[in-house]
């Protein structure tokens, strides 16, 4: 992304959920009095058991769902009062299922769709498409039909199509699902690049390693509200394991190793290695 394009990304708004509840028409209570505040530029991984309300939560940010009680605010403004088109320019959401999102006949047209709807044309449009394709490693696939690509690459394409909108808030619903090791690394670099550009990044994930390594904050959901909230080293620290397990989660393996070795909270490979090396410098 060029400096000029980066500069055009407007500052991310503060996000606030105030006592938000949401029930689906069949009566399922997906969110239950949820409170959450996300500052501009934060990277937040939302984790929690299947059916705990994670996807429902993020769909409240781009107007796909509206709370049945409580309020969702952006910079203090109730999103219920914001037109969906204006929300779309601020919040980009890559769906859990890319097939709910992809609609064009070529990769290029797919990525152009979002920015075109924001009024972007010409050289800037080309530049955005190129940057988004490079970011997810699909640069050679401009003319490919999305449905000739396997699931993992359709998923990366869905992420690219949202990236190209350069929304100040980027939301990825289960971005690492179906990805191989390189795919997961790509998604990690997408998160890092968006964060470096000052964008707020929110990802729903079941991948604890991805959450611990790529995000500054981890929010654990349980039964439609927030059970734990903090930096990975806090959330994955041993005292919280019972709560994690109650939410169907497991601490990442390096956290378990670090705790058993009495090294404190080491949620990532890197923190575990650093703690061990510090412990035994004479052998290093």
């Amino acid at each position: 992304m060029s400096a000029a394009t980066a500069a055009r990304t407007t500052a991310a708004p503060t996000i606030e959920f105030e006592g938000v509840s949401f029930a689906y028409p069949d009566g399922t209570q997906a969110l239950d009095g949820l409170d959450l505040r996300i500052e501009p530029g934060e990277t937040v991984a939302i984790v929690g058991q299947n059916g705990s309300g994670k996807s429902t939560l993020v769909k409240h940010l781009n107007g796909l769902l509206r709370p049945t009680a409580g309020r969702v605010l952006m910079d203090g403004e109730d999103v219920r009062a914001v037109h969906v088109a204006r929300l779309a320019a601020r919040v980009g959401l890559a769906f859990q299922n890319p097939d709910r999102q992809l609609c064009a006949g070529s990769v290029k047209a797919e990525i152009e769709f979002g920015p075109r709807n924001l009024g972007i044309r010409g050289a800037e449009l080309d530049e955005r498409v190129k940057a988004a394709l490079d970011a997810v490693g699909l640069a050679g696939e401009v003319d490919t039909n999305p449905y000739d690509m396997g699931y993992s690459r359709r998923k990366l394409l869905a992420i690219a199509s949202v990236l190209a909108m350069l929304t100040p808030i980027l939301i990825l619903d289960e971005p690492t699902t179906g990805q191989d090791a390189r795919g997961v690394a790509r998604v990690g670099s997408v998160v890092a690049a968006a964060a470096a550009a000052g964008r707020t990044v929110i990802a729903v994930s079941h991948d604890m390693r991805f959450a611990a390594e790529c995000f500054g904050r981890v929010v654990v959901m349980r039964d439609g509200s927030v059970a734990l909230d903090g930096a990975p080293a806090e959330v994955f620290a041993e005292p919280h394991w019972p709560e994690l397990r109650a939410a169907n989660l497991e601490p990442p393996l390096p956290a378990v190793a670090g705790a058993r070795l009495g090294l404190g909270s080491t949620p990532t490979d890197a923190t575990l290695v650093a703690a061990l090396v510090e412990l035994a410098p004479e052998r290093g």
């Binding site: 299947n50 996807s55 390189r182 393996l253």
Partner: protein, 271 residues
Amino acid sequence: MSLDLAAVRYRYAGSSSVALGPVDLRVEPGMVVGVAGANESGKTTLCLVAAGMAPGVIGGRIEGSIVVDGVDAATLRPHELAQRCGLLFQRAATQLTHTTATVFEEVAFGPCNLSLAADEVVERVWWALGALGIEALAPREPTRLSGGQGQLVALASVLALRPKYLILDEPTSELDPAGTALVADALVRAARETGAGILLVEHKTDVLARIADEMVVLDRGSVAMRGPVADILGDVRLADLGVEAPAKVRLARDLQAAGADFTAELASALG
């Protein structure tokens, strides 16, 4: 008794390139065979081919042979094949019938189509839901489930057919860690107790390390590595094939790379 693929090659309808093959593979009853590989290495195609979906339903051209318990799969009719090879699609939305109002009916759909007695259908549905710990979802609408819940229902609908061979395309991809462990346990039970043979495509190598007996790694449609699961998952070539080593293997290497030998510490910490 086994599911055998011999010199199988497959190309999708309208495609000039070979998507899979040559592949030789054997799944025996009671055995879990893991399949790993980079994105687009042919894992899903292998599932479709092994289950007779490709070319049986979606067309395309196949060479080689697929033999199920001594019978050429190409000669089996769809309902005969369905009782032998049950396929779980990568996407739950592809699996679900979209014609039922409740999860119970959804899971009953397959057994009903096998013309089983009502008592047996009911027994199988509760058994399949119970195996995955989702009895509580029985009255819910199948299309209004979360991604992970939908995946569990799709798997239950395959288990309820009680096929001799289960062909599963990333059954835990949308599941939380506890759900992943639950499915892994359910699959081990299916293999050990009911003697099902399982072909399991899985990116989570920790799952393969735990439950697979053997595994193959695919690379551009062909088998690049095969062997006992512990040997394959400890092989340094895995990374070049786009497959992540299990967390224990990875950590041990990270520590070695840090310039010190912490093997003993790691072994004592992780058992």
